[in-house]
Symmetry: C2
């Protein structure tokens, strides 16, 4: 306990795991600007810009948009705890870690949870969801757009439409999708929709972009019981962010410097433009896929359901997956992710998110992976993989 | 919605409100170091240092200490939601905003809450607390060490001893005390104890130092029901921080850069030394008090209960308090705080916390306050106030 603390100098990494992704110097430096008070008029102006920026990112002009203080999961908790009261029925689609987490939270909110299970690596099946919505009068349908644990994309439009048909509201987890592939709350008619900062927006972790539709906010304001959270009680949070009647009310102290970082990440994002950012994520994914094929590696997910920004790659027979990750970190200072749950030891998760979605990242990753596989006796050609990627 | 976002350049302020306090360049720059993965071995080493640093700050060698991801209030929520199950009885001392918040949270946890009310500006009364503990078999006693809303210090030692006598565990809010006045979890035998980063430690807001005693953690692990929070479920959090059996388990993505900042703030704090930091807070408080007296201003709190780091000053008759704060901000770029709840419009809250506890801050504040009062027709001498403070 008495050993002295010394200034920490982090190693310089290449971040290609499931998040955080590489943060640019301009965003890091934005976070280093002088802290001001969270009630400062200048900070309140910044809040308004951030809210406007989030509405653009989510394509949610009618939603109330705020960055919640905490990890991406805090937005999940805010959505679940505010939308559900004890005794409500929630249909939760579970096709990976994060769907399972939503179901667990919904139970803690006191709801009756109907889980619609799907194999890890498959998208959410609208037919199964519809059967569950038929069987029970659900108040909420919750599902994950981009499953970070499997690399699978589920299609939110049809799922949100089904929920509406059956009178349910929707909670859509876009933690890994926002910024990397199209997210459109208005088109989907999604009710609660949220994301993280450390994925395709490439800001440091610590805030969770969150949006809620007018009808869902109305439902929250009409609750019979208080939500089982004070910190993420939307009635209190929305008035802190100036979304209630009667001006801003003190609630918590916003993470001021993290808000600077998210704001600057959005400035950079809009400079590039959404279409260009999506194209860049798709292109680097295709480069990576070509290179991986040349290394004899396969994807865990069928082509049509793959997320460009989160690639789950099957660990070949006879390869020690942890040793590969160790090799990458030791010799290339490169981070990729391990598998979770039933995919533990079976896949790697390679992120091409935000600033990490570049040709440079693809080439470093293929060179490093090829070298690691060769060091375990695989007969692979690094040069062929790099050629395939850059073609 | 379509107006462009532009890089934000915050004004340079002098922060003397109830937090955040002025953050040093070294801490700001620490936050700007490259983001690394939260599961990186280098980050896990940093986590260990941070845990050790928090144990030193709290004087809690036996407690499990972690920085929770979120505002100070997230630590309150973690404490309340984990320590209480539906039907448990909680005695909550309420002598300001934050005691009231604890009571509200305890109700949301499903507990029966016995409020021990005290006038705002008075410390918690051990006799009243004892009466409440007698009357009901309480599982938990919760109170605030340093009430940020009133500037009052309550004495935790006797309160924790009473709780033990009656078989209750304690939750002690040290958000505003940690780093500014003695906090000693071991001596008090406090069970759950937590703080904020943006007060006397002068790191940006965004993390909440948290400590829990072995017997309290055991009680959490033996709960019959799951806590009404997933994000702050200590069983999950402690294993993420390597405090459980069987190694670290993924839970959330820690706010990596905020952890850099808190760590560097602790490095700086231990360089100065705890005794020197306490003496500095006390000395600047006395300087401020002398200067305020020369301006004819009184404290809201009796001398023996005053927090040196949070000074509630009575707004004199005939003075427009909001106009004074506006004058300070406009002409001196100086932030002080307004009153909350029943003290709204009646007091100012002047913080002397962490980096803001310096003679420079005192002199600027007195000059600015004197000027603001004179601009509203008060017959005060700025020069006399400055002389009194520097004597």
């Amino acid at each position: 306990m008495s050993h002295p603390l010394k200034t920490f100098h982090p190693p310089v990494r290449v971040l290609m795991g499931p998040g955080p992704s590489d943060v640019s110097a301009r965003v890091l430096l934005a976070q280093a600007r002088p802290t001001i008070g969270h009630l400062d008029p200048a900070f309140q102006d910044l809040m308004e810009e951030v809210k406007g920026g989030l509405a653009r990112l989510f394509h949610a002009p009618e939603h109330a948009c705020v960055p919640l203080p905490g990890p991406g999961t805090c937005a999940m908790e805010a959505g679940i705890m505010n939308m559900l009261e004890p005794g409500d029925v929630a249909v939760v689609a579970v096709n990976g870690v994060f769907g399972g987490r939503m179901a667990d939270m919904a139970e803690r909110a006191g709801a009756e949870v109907v889980r619609v299970e799907q194999a890890w690596g498959q998208p959410v099946d609208p037919e199964k969801v519809e059967a569950a919505l038929w069987a029970r009068g659900a108040k909420v349908l919750a599902f994950v757009h981009a499953e970070t644990s499997t690399g699978v994309m589920s299609d939110p439009g049809p799922l949100c439409a089904l929920a509406r048909e059956h009178g349910a509201m929707t909670i859509v987890d876009c933690v890994t999708s926002l910024g990397g592939i199209p997210v459109n709350a208005a088109e989907w008619r999604a009710d609660v929709i949220y994301a993280g900062t450390q994925k395709c927006l490439s800001a440091p972790p610590g805030l969770a972009p969150f949006a809620i539709s007018p009808r869902a906010l109305e439902a929250v304001l009409a609750r019979k019981t208080k939500p089982r959270t004070w910190l993420y009680d939307l009635r209190l949070l929305m008035s802190y962010w100036g979304e209630g009647k009667g001006g801003r009310a003190y609630h918590h102290t916003a993470p001021v410097n993290a808000v600077y970082g998210l704001h600057e990440a959005m400035v950079a994002y809009f400079e590039e433009g959404e279409a260009a950012a999506f194209a860049r994520h798709q292109k680097t994914h295709e480069q990576l896929a070509s290179g991986l094929a040349a290394l004899g590696l396969d994807f865990h997910v069928a082509r049509e359901h793959r997320l460009p920004q989160l690639n789950t790659v099957i660990v070949p027979e006879g390869i020690d997956e942890a040793k590969v990750r160790g090799h990458l970190l030791e010799h290339f200072s490169l981070e990729i992710g391990a598998g979770l749950g039933p995919l533990k030891g079976k896949v790697w998760r390679i992120g091409l998110m935000g600033g990490s979605a570049s040709e440079r990242h693809v080439m470093i990753c293929l060179a490093a992976l090829g070298d690691a596989l060769a060091s375990q006796g695989s007969n692979v050609s690094v040069r062929d993989a790099l050629k395939a990627a850059s073609r």
